[in-house]
Amino acid sequence: MDLHNLNPSSLKSRFTTRFLRALTEINARKPIASSSSPREIFQRYRRIKDAADTSMAYSVRSRRTWSKATLWRLRTPSHRRRLASFGRRSSLNKTRTTTTASHRGAVVVQITSRGGGLGVQLEELRELVPGGEAMDLCNLLDETAHYIKCLTTQVQVMRTIANLYSLE
């Protein structure tokens, strides 16, 4: 790895700046007491995780389905989310299964009939990648690739920060 400064407009630097800002804000709100209950630590953990996911989704300059889905998941409260996702999922299932005459439906049927285990894995992948329920296979693979890239960046930066600040 080269020792020059990071490219200021790279994904990594954007994420780092945003995440550090969010961390300082969280720390300012509730400074850690030396004896904090596990529940408080759990709350902090949730907030930090959400901050990390949000800052990652924001740093994605190009519009991506998974980033939109992440932000939406973190923004809307859960009861409204359940209603919306119910409507969304039912309409999706309708388009996917019933329309066999359509081109896309025929191809989807082909792919699932080709390998029995393939359908299960596709469903799993859809669950893992945020916003993956509403995409066809081609776009899903695209999104997965971008998502993996961003996750590795996130893990790298967070690990560096954790190492840096856990020993000082």
Binding site: I41, L128, D142, T160, A162, S166, L167
Partner: protein, 361 residues
């Protein structure tokens, strides 16, 4: 699709509306192709390949590859100069477009010809000669194949397919298969996709589009295989997908554990950007660290090991103890994650710690 609409005409004489439809759509493609020729720079293989993927399938199906370009790429100038590139392609497209335009002249008269040939240097002599050849084209496909080698158009073939026997078409595809190899090399340099019907494969637009889709999907799977470590050797979509799913799950879990670690950290100083960046550059751990793959380590062993390693640094020790103490408190409640965390940190902290020791001293 208009190919089927055109082919659905029962006899060689189509209805005026169908002809107009086909002609109109084809003329749109002509202008598209011409514009693309003008504006497309010479791209290297990788970017043009991804550019290939962006095209929607039906459009890919419609684009006709002029086989004269195959001859051109065989002969001269492997150096991809932009102007040469553009110039060389003007030539084949003149004849290709003129032939298509000439074909339409048989059916529609003169409607589209002016539009199509406006940017090409029209060669009326060849235009007329090819127009005269069009009628024999319909009746004696073999002869025209020999007289105008590799002139086969997928659209013409499609129309012939629907009407005539398959053997002649297969024969023509066999001849064109020799051009297919050269055309496949060509396709990587061009900014758009040439989909050619291979021997024995159905040539209707649906299967062509499906084949383009499948190739897109396979290409993206290859990209994913490169991204996910250890996936290059695996063959078979199911196993590769398994690996991808495992990788994504492990990354998400790592994010959770790291955020839990950050939650337990007591930030003595404000979060400083510069120190993060320098630490980033000096960090020796890469993302392939199999934090989740390691079996559970006893946290106490790890902590003791850490403390013994750096006895002289007393103030560090005090902080360490406070940090580890907190993690030990958490241990009672969240044992497995913290064990992994401590393993993770002890693995990571050694190189960083040594760096900072050097800085301090």
């Amino acid at each position: 699709m208009e190919l089927n609409a055109g082919a659905a005409g029962t006899g060689p004489h189509k209805t005026a509306s169908e002809r107009d439809e086909v002609a109109a759509l084809e003329s749109l493609q002509f202008t598209d192709e011409i514009r693309r020729l003008m504006s497309a720079p010479a791209t290297d293989n990788a970017s043009s390949f991804t550019a290939l993927l962006e095209l929607p399938a039906p459009q890919a199906v419609q684009l006709i590859h002029s086989p004269d370009s195959a001859k051109l790429t065989a002969a001269p100038a492997p150096a991809p100069n932009v102007d040469d590139f553009k110039g060389s392609f003007h030539y084949p497209f003149n004849s290709g477009l003129i032939e298509r335009a000439a074909r339409f002249s048989v059916f529609t008269g003169d409607g589209n010809i002016n539009e199509d040939n406006k940017s090409n240097s029209p060669e009326p002599t060849s235009y007329n000669s090819s127009a005269s050849l069009q009628k024999p084209v319909k009746s004696e496909p073999a002869e025209t194949e020999s007289s105008q080698p590799l002139v086969s158009d997928p659209t013409v073939e499609n129309r012939r397919n629907k009407r005539k026997d398959r053997e002649k078409v297969k024969g023509s595809t066999k001849k064109s298969k020799t051009a297919a190899k050269e055309s496949s090399d060509d396709a990587e340099k061009l900014p758009y996709v040439h989909v050619r019907a291979r021997r024995g494969q159905a040539t209707d637009s649906h299967s062509l589009a499906e084949r383009a889709r499948r190739e897109k999907i396979n290409a993206r799977m290859k990209l994913l295989q490169e991204l996910v470590p250890g996936c290059g050797k695996i063959s078979g979509m199911a196993l590769v997908l398994d690996e991808i799913i495992n990788h994504v799950q492990s990354l998400q879990r790592q994010v959770e554990f790291l955020s839990m670690r950050l939650a337990a950290v007591n930030p003595g100083i404000d979060f400083n950007l510069d120190s993060v960046f320098t630490a980033e550059n000096g960090s020796l751990m890469d993302s392939n660290f199999p934090g989740m793959v390691m079996p559970m380590m006893w946290p106490e062993v790890q902590l003791n090991g850490n403390r013994q390693q750096y006895p002289p640094q007393l103030h560090f020790n005090a902080l360490q103890q406070s940090v580890w103490g907190k993690e030990e408190v958490c241990n009672n409640y969240i044992t497995p994650e913290n064990s992994l965390l401590s393993y993770d940190s002890s693995g990571n902290s050694a190189p960083l710690h040594s760096n900072r020791l050097k800085m301090e001293l």
